[in-house]
């Protein structure tokens, strides 16, 4: 059978509607957080710091803030969407519909990417207001934003499948994603760190995500771009393969 394009579009459309239904939580909250980060790190602290990597500190820190918002938006969108569907048994709508397992994956991940792109667009607008946005490589920027959204959407789906309660839904975010994101050079350069901490940072995959977004925006990179791309592709393929398998065996969704 052919690819169910109308079905996939319907999944994306449904996520946009769901996003707009709770717009304060889904769009307004991340925009306010980003604006506060920009004000504090960019305007208040940033003006006291010299230019870094040839750009004002606010421009250096903005890609990290944007990535942080995208990570949170895609993870929250995918995990809450699927967990809620499991909780209400709304997932059965998907199971009885003519979607291949791979299409289900694309639908769930794509829906989360759609929401994070909405968030990204709004935060870019806020960044423009603060004079923090530059874009040296728009194609690479779109690639990194989409790839990072997809990775965290897939992690969100895995957590949504695994979780048996609302608390478990937040555990991975609180204890894994948030610390690794903050320690991945979102607000600082790895050159600010002592040697041991810098070495540990190079082992943190989140560092390569932030660095990729930053290099596409301001043209400054501290990581090995090839290694970063390898990590991103490995995660996309690995998580994608794992999730297609989990959908196929119906783990936690098909009795």
């Amino acid at each position: 059978m052919h690819t169910n394009w109308v079905g996939l579009y319907t999944m994306f459309r449904r996520e946009v509607q769901r996003t707009m239904r709770v717009v304060v939580q889904t769009l307004l909250a991340p925009v306010i957080s980003a604006a506060l980060y920009l004000f504090i790190f960019g305007t208040v602290i940033g003006t006291k710091i010299e230019d870094f990597a040839g750009v004002p500190y606010i421009s250096f820190v903005f890609p990290g803030i944007l990535m942080l918002s995208i990570v949170n938006a895609s993870f929250a969108s995918a995990s809450s969407n699927l967990y809620f569907m499991r909780f209400t048994r709304g997932i059965e709508e998907m199971l009885i519909a003519p979607f291949s397992y791979f299409e289900m994956l694309v639908g769930f991940v794509g829906s989360a990417v759609v929401r994070s792109l909405m968030v990204a667009f709004l935060i870019l607008a806020v960044g423009i207001l603060f004079g923090a946005v530059s874009l040296v490589n728009p194609l690479a920027f779109v690639f990194y934003i989409a790839a990072i959204s997809a990775i965290f959407a897939m992690l969100g789906i895995i957590v949504a499948l695994w979780a048996e309660g609302f608390e478990q839904l937040t555990v991975i975010n609180t204890f894994v994603i948030t610390p690794l994101t903050y320690l991945g050079g979102v607000f600082y350069s790895v050159t600010f760190l002592p040697p041991l901490a810098a070495t540990i940072t190079y082992l943190n995959p989140f560092f390569y995500f932030a660095d990729g977004v930053r290099s596409s925006m301001i043209g400054y990179s501290e990581a090995n771009t090839f290694a970063g791309l390898c990590i991103i592709f490995a995660l996309v393929l690995g998580l994608g393969g794992l999730l297609t398998h989990l959908f196929k065996i119906g783990w936690k969704i098909r009795s």
Partner: protein, 250 residues
């Protein structure tokens, strides 16, 4: 001879493993001919819903084969699913969505193009008397309206096989009669329908083929006339069969 609308061959469904293993459906075989109005009866926990879940893809058969219109629901699941519409026993919906949204999304999932989809939605909204409630959140609807919205959702892609798992539970008498009339009309128009219900007068009124499932096994199957021979009602015959089966298992 035309292909049966549904063929179930030696279906077995086991939940859990080891000590916690529970055989929900135990080697059942069943054929539903095209155009039949088929009543699937049985006590709570007998295996009716599990069988339906295996047909529709909500559950994975442990062994056996299910063919819908000749299409294997496991091997060619994507194709098989286009042929089936399900109105489930439980309200498995986004409770914040409206009836028209539920139908729109489901129609979209089944790849029905926009204009055709909305024409069908308008028809179904009208047919189920949901005009005043089409933009009301599902959670705010009465039990009867919820059931009608679920039916609309099951029909939006005009399936060949319609499966109704207790579609009139919680529906008042008048609305139930309306629903019966509609289901009868659809069946007379050629739609194959499988119905499970605890209201046996409903089965007697609507169905022309009946099977009884008990403890995961088919314990009786035949035409309505065969069930009602000797002047018995379907309910009397059902009780006779299930009690005898339960006694035999003691």
């Amino acid at each position: 001879m035309s292909t049966p609308m549904l063929e179930i061959k030696n279906l077995r469904k086991v939940y859990g493993s080891g000590k916690d293993q529970k055989v929900a459906v135990d080697n059942i075989s069943l054929t539903v001919e095209r155009g039949a109005f088929f009543g699937l009866l049985g006590p709570n926990g007998a295996g009716k819903s599990t069988t339906i879940h295996c047909i529709t893809g909500i559950a994975q058969p442990t062994s056996g084969q299910i063919l819908v219109d000749g299409v294997d629901v496991v091997k060619d699941y994507k194709n098989a699913r286009t042929k089936v519409g399900l109105s489930p026993q439980e309200f498995n919906v986004d409770i914040f969505a409206t009836p028209e949204q539920l139908m729109d999304f489901m129609g979209g999932y089944y790849a029905i193009p926009h204009d055709e989809r909305w024409k069908r939605i308008d028809d179904l909204i009208k047919r189920f008397d949901l005009e005043e409630h089409r933009t009301v959140k599902f959670q705010k609807l009465s039990g009867g309206l919820k059931r009608r919205a679920m039916l609309g959702r099951a029909l939006v892609h005009t399936p060949d096989l319609l499966i109704l798992d207790e579609p009139t539970a919680g529906v008042d008498v008048e609305q139930r009669r309306d629903l019966w009339a509609y289901l009868k009309e659809m069946n007379e128009g050629g739609k194959t329908i499988i119905l499970t219900s605890h209201y046996l007068e409903e089965i007697q009124y609507l169905c022309n083929e009946i099977a009884i499932i008990n403890h995961g096994k088919i314990v009786a199957q035949g035409t309505k006339e065969e069930f009602m021979k000797d002047g018995k009602t379907v309910e009397e015959r059902y009780l006779e069969i299930t009690r005898a089966d339960n006694e035999g298992k003691k």
